[in-house]
Amino acid sequence: MDLERGRVSRRIFFDEEVYHRELTQIFARSWLYLGHESQIPNAGDFVTAYMGEDPVILCRGKDGSIRAFLNSCRHRGMKVCRLDAGNARSFNCSFHGWSYSTDGELIGVPFHNTVYRDLDRSKLGLHAVPKVENYGGFIFGNWQAGATSLERHLGDMRWYLDILIERPLGGIEVLGGQQRYQCHSNWKIAAENFSGDTYHLPFSHKSLFMLKDVRPFNPVGYESASKLHTVVFPEVGHALTAIGTTDERYEADLKLAREMGPEVVEYVKESRARLLAKTSEEQARIYALAFGNVFPNFSFNNFSALRPLGLYLWLPKGAQSIEAWQWCAVSRDAPASVKSIIREDFTRVQSAAGVAGQDDTENFEQVTEATRGAIGQTLDFVYSMGLDNSPGVEMEGYPGRFYPYFSEAGQREFYRHWATEMQR
């Protein structure tokens, strides 16, 4: 890796040893996204998730707090929860009948007093994820008991995430259902795509832009690139793209809202007013985060209050394999007409069957096919765009370091942080 020249060895995307090292150096030590609180509103509600390749249960306990556990019986490993989501009063192992409360305690061992002389149940609860923290409804877990807080990990990106969190009226609500698909690719190729690859948009997604006269496509979000920026957060490896510091996105929303009706105009105006009240003038001007990535593998996009909040996880399943999990979120109190166009937008564009999602898969898969050979792996990937802008500029009133819209700074910072974590 030579980030001063914007070069990253192709090996890191295919090498099995590198992948196994990532499982301990990155995924066993980072804050990993588990789910949104709106998915588990009531006591006993759970969803299952992965941290690295470890299956976990994210569950709201009887006392209302949210915990996460390795989904594995402490006796001999059987999964104690074999559903994606639901509500449970306990988690029961089908192998030898051990059962656990929704707080993770071992509460039932069949024939306990007869068959075991010394079994300390208190030490055999489900293996807890020691740190589970909630930032604005987004729940993350960390396997390291001594990890710094989630807030520290999010760093200056928090200021921008607050826009995502505070703008929705009634808060964020994740729609029911999920989409999951396999993809023959290394997880980093997907994560770096959301970390700053604005350059691929006009080419990979050209067929999407050609559909601009079909609902829900409209000019919202397709502003002039010269007014937008890439924003990076060195030290933590996160990045944001297409950030605007004028009111252009809000104005575009208002224009579309006027065509849709007075309740939508009110919704858009109230969304901005809420941002102004809860955050700042600068944050209200940004209004929407376009797309970004929270290191290591949690991406999101949102271009407008009339467009989806897409949430994406790139789950590592081998050096050349991922599962992509994705969700669509809306403002809980948005008018029905707005929720309907948001649902339609995500389904048509970013969906696993959508007109944007498909083309990214083709890229990820064929990059993998072309570079897995012995010769291919001796080469580098080139991330030199915008090196002459290093280390980026500071904009008064806005955290992070700013680069032009077309830049590969987001990817460079992703790999810089990756390298630091791999060597730590």
Partner: protein
């Protein structure tokens, strides 16, 4: 009393219609395929969760995120995209084979709406060796308009919770 099962001619006609409709897709005759859908048609593929509740985790309600929920206009947009030369995910077009079977005439009639179930396996072969199977069942509403059978509503309920790949073909 005549039940649907006894209407041999109708069964045969519906089967032949579904086989031909599938062949149009496999032969890349997308515009002709689209012409068998009514103007007010809807094409839905729910998403699927591994759940215990009734409904088997099938998600297609207004508060849910489906995989596909298209009207005729958007089906047309998908086809226009495929023909544009810029739909990289289908450039060149995948080779597909739609196997349709277990066709059952369930209820109604072609005047007001005939409900038809069928099972489908769609094989996709793409580029050198990217090959996937997509398996599910269809719940169709067919009508006869101007003498021809047409599809007013199709719901494809896939059996996958984890799709083998993102979906670049028309199922």
């Amino acid at each position: 009393m005549t039940t649907l099962l006894m209407v041999e001619g109708l069964c045969r006609e519906v089967e032949q219609f579904l086989y031909r409709e599938a062949r149009l897709l496999d032969e890349y005759k997308f515009e002709e395929w689209l012409s068998v859908f009514t103007k007010d048609c809807r094409y839905v593929i729910p998403s699927r969760e591994n759940r215990k509740e009734p409904g088997d985790g099938i998600r297609a309600g207004p508060g849910d995120l489906p995989l596909v929920d298209d009207d005729k206009e958007f089906l047309g947009a998908r086809i226009a995209r495929l023909r544009s030369g810029f739909a990289h995910a289908e450039e060149p077009l995948s080779r597909t084979r739609h196997i349709v079977s277990n066709i059952e005439l369930v209820a109604g009639d072609l005047a007001a709406g005939l409900r038809v179930f069928s099972n489908v396996i769609v094989f996709q072969s793409r580029l050198e060796k990217t090959e996937k199977f997509y398996i599910g069942r269809r719940d169709d509403e067919l009508v006869r308009l101007d003498g021809s059978i047409m599809i007013r509503r199709r719901t494809v309920v896939l059996d996958h919770v984890l799709l083998p790949r993102s979906l670049s073909i028309i199922l």
